[in-house]
């Protein structure tokens, strides 16, 4: 297993390098260092001298990928790519073009994102599995048909509608929780109720249908018939036999997103004023802050690789037949 993990991590290095180069090329195809300087310096009284000065201060006054004028290894090291991107592999994110330390910002903003995303995921998982099991329990009845119709309706509605509707009904009409905001520690709970509730509710439609499909596939298998023949009740069969066997596809979907929970959700955080990482990348793209863009894309890639690795490992935990080699 250890060998497998090390091998997978080594595989990820060229992948991350590729992601890094691709981000770099895509960013600089659209934006030149001059454009970045203009964006940072504002719209008034920007002169050629001030642009040159900005580029020099921020290290954008060297060539992008190849420094033909330099000697020896400096042909590579005296470039924007080398100076800005190599540190990422050591998780040194550096300073954003507006002067803030990116690592410190990410550390500060990841926790509020997690505070919304984790309960949403866990409660959502619980609710979705429960409802899916209930639908399987009542399969071929009016309850199941009604449930499916309801699920289709729920998943057809835009998540923005849930957010605005939830804020309107619970925050504005019933006045039960603050409509938006955030606080530290336990005081955050009252701000998290509404986004978590809406997050869970908006995911019920698709979640329940997905899990129902998984469970239905399982309930038709031979071991379930055997369990029933033994005299187990339907509830016992579902919870003790069907659920554990349906865990592999559930884990595939869940474990892979676990690391990405830190990355937050743009719309949710924007509407609920959660100081998370959701809007960090978008804001950076809008303000042409390459330092943040590259850091966030790199971090996203790393977390995704970790997520996939964790999924593989989790297989061995829930299915003894799986061996990593």
């Amino acid at each position: 297993m250890t060998q497998y993990i090390i091998r997978r991590l080594l595989y990820s290095l060229p992948l991350l390098m590729g992601v890094n180069i691709l981000t770099f090329v895509l960013f600089f195809v659209v934006n030149s260092p001059d454009d970045m300087a203009r964006m940072q310096l504002g719209q008034k009284h920007v002169t050629g001298q001030s642009i040159a000065n900005w580029k020099q201060q921020h290290g954008y006054d060297v060539p992008l990928l190849w420094n033909a004028d330099a000697q020896g290894e400096k042909k590579i090291t005296d470039t924007i790519f080398y100076q800005k991107s190599v540190g990422l592999f050591l998780f040194r994110f550096g300073v954003s073009d507006s002067g803030r330390n990116i690592g410190a910002d990410i550390k500060e903003r990841a926790w509020p994102s997690l505070a919304v995303a984790l309960p949403t995921l866990l409660v959502g998982l619980l609710v979705n599995i429960c409802f899916a099991l209930m639908m399987v329990l009542f399969r071929n009845s009016y309850l199941e048909h009604a449930g499916i119709v309801l699920c289709v309706i729920l998943m057809s509605i835009s998540s923005l509608f849930y957010i605005i509707g939830g804020q309107f009904f619970i925050g504005k009409v019933l006045r039960l929780v603050p409509i938006s905001g955030y606080d530290d520690g336990m005081a955050a709970i009252k701000f998290l109720i509404l986004p978590v509730l809406i997050g869970v509710f908006s995911g019920i439609g698709s979640g329940v249908r997905w899990y129902r499909t998984l469970f239905l596939e399982e309930v038709e298998k031979d071991y379930v018939r055997t369990a029933r023949a033994k005299g187990l009740t339907e509830t016992q069969t579902l919870f003790q036999h069907v659920l554990p066997n349906a865990m592999i596809p559930i884990l595939t979907g869940v474990v892979v997103v676990l690391p990405l929970l830190f990355m937050g959700s743009l719309i949710m955080e924007s509407f609920f004023s959660i100081p998370g990482l959701g809007s960090y990348t978008i804001d950076a793209i809008n303000s042409q802050d390459f330092a943040i863009v590259r850091a966030m894309v790199f971090l996203g890639s790393v977390l995704y690789v970790i997520g996939l690795l964790l999924t593989d490992i989790s297989y061995t935990l829930v299915d003894p037949r799986v061996r990593l080699s």
């Binding site: 310096l41 008034k44 009284h45 201060q57 925050g171 006045r175």
Partner: protein, 754 residues
Amino acid sequence: MTLLLMSSLLSRQLLYALLYLPLPCSRMKMKTCKARVLVLMLSVIFWSASFSCAAWESEELNNPYPEDENNQAVLYESFSERPKHLDPAVSYSNSEYTFIAQIYEPPFQYHYLKRPYQVVPLTAVRMPEVSYLTLKGEKLGNGVNDSDIAFTEYIIEIQPGIRYQPHPALAKNIQGDYKYHQLDKAQIEAATSLNDFKATGSRELTAEDYVYQIKRLAHPKIQSPIAEIMKNYIVGFDDYSKQVKDKAKTAIRDLPIEGATALNRYQYRIRIKGKYPQFIYWLAMPFFSPMPWEADVFYSQKGLADKNITLDWFPIGTGPYLMAENNPNRRMILLKNPLFHVESYPTEGEPEDAQKGLLVDAGKQLPFIDKVVFMLEKETIPYWTKFLQGYYDASGIASDSFDQAIQFTGSGDVALTPTMLEKGIQLQTSVATSSFYMGFNMLDAIVGGTTEQARKLRQAIAIAVDYEEYISIFTNGRGVAAQGILPPGIYGFDDKTGINPYVYEWLNGKAAAPVGKAQRKKIDAARQLMTEAGYAGGIDPKTKEALILYFDTTTTSIDDRPRMNWYRKQFEKLGIKLVIRGTDYNRFQEKMRTGNAQIFVWGWNADYPDPENFFFLLYGANSKVQHGGENAANYHNPEFDRLFEQMRNMNNSEQRYRIIQQMQEIVRHDAPWVFGYHPKNFSLFHGWYKNIKPNLMANNLLKYTRINTADRAEKRRQWNKPVFWPLVLGSAVFVLMLIPAINTYRRRVRKSIQ
């Protein structure tokens, strides 16, 4: 109350259940027994929920702020865009001035109440002594020709006894050494924010601090956005920049700059090139605030920047407020500066100010608010809802809530809707000192140039593009169609007779001026101009087809499509085919720089209330293509330039006014711009918000604000009583729905067993 009524509906079941509960289940049928238990459980849950809800009904469950702040003088504001910089040498946007203008104090400020805008001393004892010098440095007397003036000298004396806010950079140990100027690695490692440096200190503000800040403006590593402008004015500024280019930020303390010198502890002198009366306005901007050298020494220590502990994020000033929390992704908190000097609310203003209650606090010590909380709100819906709930004290009006807040009266005036009036909300409107315009690239072969043909084409377009309609459709009527380059509130603006005669005419003839109403000329007049320009019916004689013009813009989203279609339609009135060339911001800027744009829209917000700050946008020496300046239309008219050079150095006078009108006439005639509109700001304030007067030049307005906290607490209580009954009803329905589900399940189990 509603809850109690709801609960009583179930009380009969509860009673029923209680009566039968003592009976052992064996004496009843099993099914009946279970039903009783279920009813009892439901009732107990319902009653306890009802009582809890009743207890909570008096509380504000949706209050996003700590309970103990309810009766404190705390002002709640919001911000939608995180500030990029809070260093006064670098900050240059409204989103940044909102904060730093409350913290830093330049020597001068704008009078809060007086109009026209008037610069008055802030930390200075009096207005500066201004003297003009020859090239040899000899003083010139009054009535001297502008051409004889080689330098202007400003001598500024500041008040003694003004102290900086408590700050770790100024903390000293018992030996009298700065406590945090030589931090070791462990101290830096342990710190996560500025508040982790517990000891704070203060010292008196000196003239040297103002000089130090001017040196900072010149330092290339600080990257002040006005450094390039100041090179043209402050003596020795450019040389100083070159001299300190490779030196550390902290090195400038001991390196003198020629144009700024501290004469003694409380007096300093700034020497600028030639005559530039507008320099006084710069001295009222945060760029010229004092900076203690200790700040740079403290913040320059290695490792602090990695924790985002920088001068750019934790200011140190002498103003009425200090930055207590800086989390630009969530909230920014300003606290009253305990060491703030004596400054009182103005005792005089405009004649009607007393009647409006704006002089109630005259002479009282500022500021009135103890704490200001700025919350990040990116979306308008939650922001607006929180304002209506009383959790924000003031609000702008987004277009989607405009109809909810504002209605137009029969005479076309704006008024608040009854819902807003019922809440005691106040409306304040003001025309911004900004201009949005449609520019023509004067270097373009078709729309540009000084030929009669091109001029008439531009004039025809100016008539056809109906900005009154634009304001009505796209800004909810929040704007004033522009008659020239100057917005209202700027010296030289003539609101009575100053219409643009090439685009407008008096409704009832010239005799109706100055009380008559101007109206846009009929489209036939524009078509006539098109014919005179050689484009009869909009047909280009070269191609014998409709004239094609190109509109360059960065607005490419689907939301902007109606706006673009509107522009297209305006040009269609003249038979011109307008091609929209949407592009990203970078390419647009590039087109403007290289002169490849043909028609574009642009805007300008006044730096200071002087016509020079608008006319320079059309000054030939500022053309964007040739000189990289702010003249985006690349307009060049020698007569206009001559008048501009004459006007810019003059003090406001009858002669200056006349020149301004001459300049207006030239640009109206040449039409390098279609004068678009001046936006109108609409702001809403709750009834408890006091001392509201629009001041578009000053940014340090929070110190004048007062809040009636008792009124606010009472209103919030009334407006935010929680409503529980739909929740309880929903839960009850859900539980009741479970019963048939359980029955179905039982039937199914029984069936499978059978």
